[in-house]
């Protein structure tokens, strides 16, 4: 019999029941809750007079709507204020642990979960947010769900699922210096397309992934959904185990040893069979930038923008033409021709301490170019912010002309006041470059934190490796 994949093992460890109709009940270990996708779920519980199945499995924090400026004055936007208040009220009413807006542990849920050790290896983790895939980075089965399923998990601690197929994406050999986890995942999406992973759980492996920290692996898994896969994951290794030691909700003492022993079983067997295998050569990946309105519309920084006339698929070619029109760019240009009006360093993809360090390394001793209207740094959580301040990163950013903000989702999806103006281009470390995502008429270019900082100080998109060579 063939061996098992990491996904097979996680699935089997949480299988409550296989039903005659081909579906299965899967037990959910951890449920993360934020203000946007939960109010209707709590309302559903109230209407049906149902209680949460377990309280101690849930953890909540507001992140999508919160302002990143001074919060002592509360939330100015009345609609956002009501939604954040609804989360506070629901958590208080049902007795769910919540880090409220002014709690120093508040932040982007996908940063806060692992940071607190609330999301752990070997767990099933869900949240009403597609970027829940982030948590797969440490050998967990994690994916986004809709609001009906938020209510379903609250009420039953289970989800009705069909097993996905297994895909292995292997990066052979390490990447060069100045090439980050973000460049790896953008290169993967450029290769497989935004629907390439639909129906699959993706395991990322190979030397380049093994060499990444847990934070880097989170960046990669975070964007599995941009490749169409609900769940992305990486096997547990020493790096994973070390990351969780001592975290607030991580097990302690004997329980820690027992947990580590269990976690170490979460890897794919050598003889495991995958339904699809994709390979990339690490040495061939260089810093990436998205040019269009879909995360698969990505080029390497030195590449000319592609010509739709040479695209054989007519539907894809039409998508490219629309994207050029929306982005006000032309085939044959390079990203070096584009001026970023704004720069955003943050989001569940890239707002952890290593991301901020990597951006600060470029910002240090340089100035944000005069052509850039605004450069924002939004830490992923209050604790990331505190750590960065202890390391003096805030001073480096402020000195260079960046704004140093409070934690939240911010300009990734512009539900708060941080947004692009109509027609503005943005060098953004977020995950989606859809039309209007960062503001009405806004034009997003997805990059790594180092590339975003390099664009900020250069006034155009540049190869960060050239700046690193001068550091």
């Amino acid at each position: 019999m063939a061996g098992k994949t990491l996904y097979d093992k996680l699935w089997e460890a949480h299988l409550v029941k296989e039903r005659d109709d081909g579906t299965a009940l899967i037990y959910i270990d951890r449920h993360l809750i934020h203000e946007v996708t939960s109010p209707q779920a709590f309302e559903g519980l109230r209407i049906a007079n149902r209680k949460p199945w377990r309280l101690d499995t849930n953890i909540a924090t507001p992140d999508h709507n919160v302002p990143t400026t001074d919060r002592s004055v509360g939330i100015e936007d009345p609609v956002a204020r009501i939604q954040v208040q609804a989360l506070d009220d629901n958590c208080d009413e049902f007795g769910i642990l919540e880090y409220k807006m002014n709690d120093p542990r508040q932040g982007v849920l996908h940063v806060v979960g692992p940071e607190q050790g609330a999301a752990l290896p070997g767990m099933t983790i869900v949240c009403g947010d597609s970027h829940t895939a982030t948590h797969g980075a440490f050998g967990a089965l994690a994916h986004g769900i809709g609001t009906s399923e938020v209510e379903h998990v609250l009420a039953t601690q289970c989800l009705i699922q069909k097993k996905m197929k297994n895909m292995l994406i292997r990066i052979n050999g390490d990447v060069g210096s100045g090439v980050t986890a973000k460049d790896i995942v953008l290169a993967i999406i450029a290769k497989i397309g935004t629907a390439g992973g639909t129906g699959f759980a993706i395991e990322f492996a190979g030397e380049a992934i093994e060499a990444l920290s847990v934070e880097g692996r989170m960046t990669v898994c975070n964007m599995a959904i941009e490749g169409g896969a609900r769940a992305g994951m990486v096997a547990v290794d020493d790096i994973t185990v070390d990351y969780f030691k001592g975290r607030t909700f991580a097990p302690k003492g004997e329980l820690w040893d027992q947990a580590v022993q269990s976690w170490r079983g979460f890897y794919s067997d050598d003889d495991a069979v995958f339904d699809a295998v994709v390979e990339l050569e690490g040495a061939e990946i260089i810093p990436q930038v998205s040019w269009g309105t879909s995360p698969e519309m990505v080029v390497a920084i030195d590449q000319a923008l592609p010509d739709p006339e040479t695209e054989s698929d007519p539907v894809k070619a039409e998508g490219m033409r629309r994207a050029y029109q929306y982005m006000d760019l032309k085939p044959g240009m390079t990203m070096g021709d584009v001026v970023p009006d704004r720069v955003f360093i943050g989001s569940c993809t890239n707002s952890r301490i290593e991301d901020l360090r990597s951006a600060a390394e470029i910002a240090k001793g340089r100035k944000v170019d005069a052509k850039v209207l605004q450069a924002l740094v939004v830490p992923g959580s209050g604790l990331v912010k505190k750590q960065a301040e202890e390391e003096g990163l805030d001073k480096i950013f402020i000195e260079a002309g960046f704004e140093w903000r409070e934690p939240g989702c911010s300009m990734c999806l512009a539900m708060n006041a941080d947004k692009l103006g109509d027609g503005e281009h943005c060098a953004s470390t977020s995950n989606r470059n859809f039309e209007g995502r960062q503001g009405y008429g806004g034009r997003t270019h997805l990059v790594s934190p180092a590339m975003a900082a390099a664009a900020a100080v250069s006034g155009r998109f540049v190869d960060v490796r050239e700046l690193l060579a001068n550091n």
Partner: protein, 221 residues
């Protein structure tokens, strides 16, 4: 949820691939704490010429006359036909809420994003996967004849065209059952409460650290 009955509806063609949930319902409208009322903001950025605001009356806003949903011939539509990877992006269930609130009962495309696909079934919106060739034919049919309608028959798993063709489609039996009967799947899962409890005991014995951690809140500030 209401029972999903056989119906016939005018088809609206949205000739694009990779239609994402940010387009279906832009983020500023996600601040609502209700499940209803999203219809006027469905495809807001394509449908109107100005920037939409939450809780705004949309009746006086300037329309993009070229957009499919604003064209006279598609008024009263309840079936959408679109290209591959429909509903990609965010997990927001507001996307199917906006589509159903507008009046859609089915979306036909060569493929759907997983989370959107799943969310649709829970809200009385039937996503129907048909091959690219058949979707192409449907586009031609819609563009060629004003008032082009399709009959969607979930019980028999067919889409019937005006020229008498019956196109079969696949649907997961559990989801079909829930839609046809208008069932609440939380109720179905709770019927397995004993199995869940039994699993929970076994799981807690094997992985005790998964349990009792969140309520024992330690404070690292």
């Amino acid at each position: 949820m209401e029972k999903y009955e056989k119906f016939s509806g005018i088809v609206a063609p949205l000739d694009r691939a990779n239609i994402d949930t940010d387009q279906i319902i832009p983020k500023q409208f996600l601040k609502s704490i209700k499940r209803t009322g999203f219809g006027p903001n469905l495809f807001d950025e394509w449908r109107y010429l100005d920037e939409g605001l939450p809780e705004q009356d949309c009746s006086g806003r300037p329309l993009n006359k070229e957009f499919v949903l604003n064209q006279d011939r598609y008024q009263g539509t309840s079936v959408m036909v679109a290209r591959k990877n429909f509903g990609c992006g965010s997990s927001r269930e507001h996307a199917p809420w906006a589509l159903t609130d507008f009046g859609f009962k089915a979306v036909i495309a060569p493929s759907f994003a997983d989370i959107f696909f799943n969310n649709s079934f829970k809200n009385g919106l039937l996503p129907i996967v048909l091959s690219e060739e058949i979707v192409d034919e449907l586009f031609q049919g819609v563009f060629g004849a004003e008032g082009y309608s399709l009959e969607v028959d979930l019980a028999n798993q067919v889409v019937n065209t005006p020229d008498g063709k019956s196109i079969p489609f696949d649907v997961d039996p559990f989801r079909k059952h829930c839609l046809l009967e208008g069932l609440d799947d939380i109720g179905i899962t709770l019927a397995d409460a004993d199995a869940i409890k039994a699993f929970e005991s076994k799981h807690e014995a094997a992985a005790p650290w998964v349990f009792n951690v969140i309520k024992a809140e330690a404070a690292i500030k």
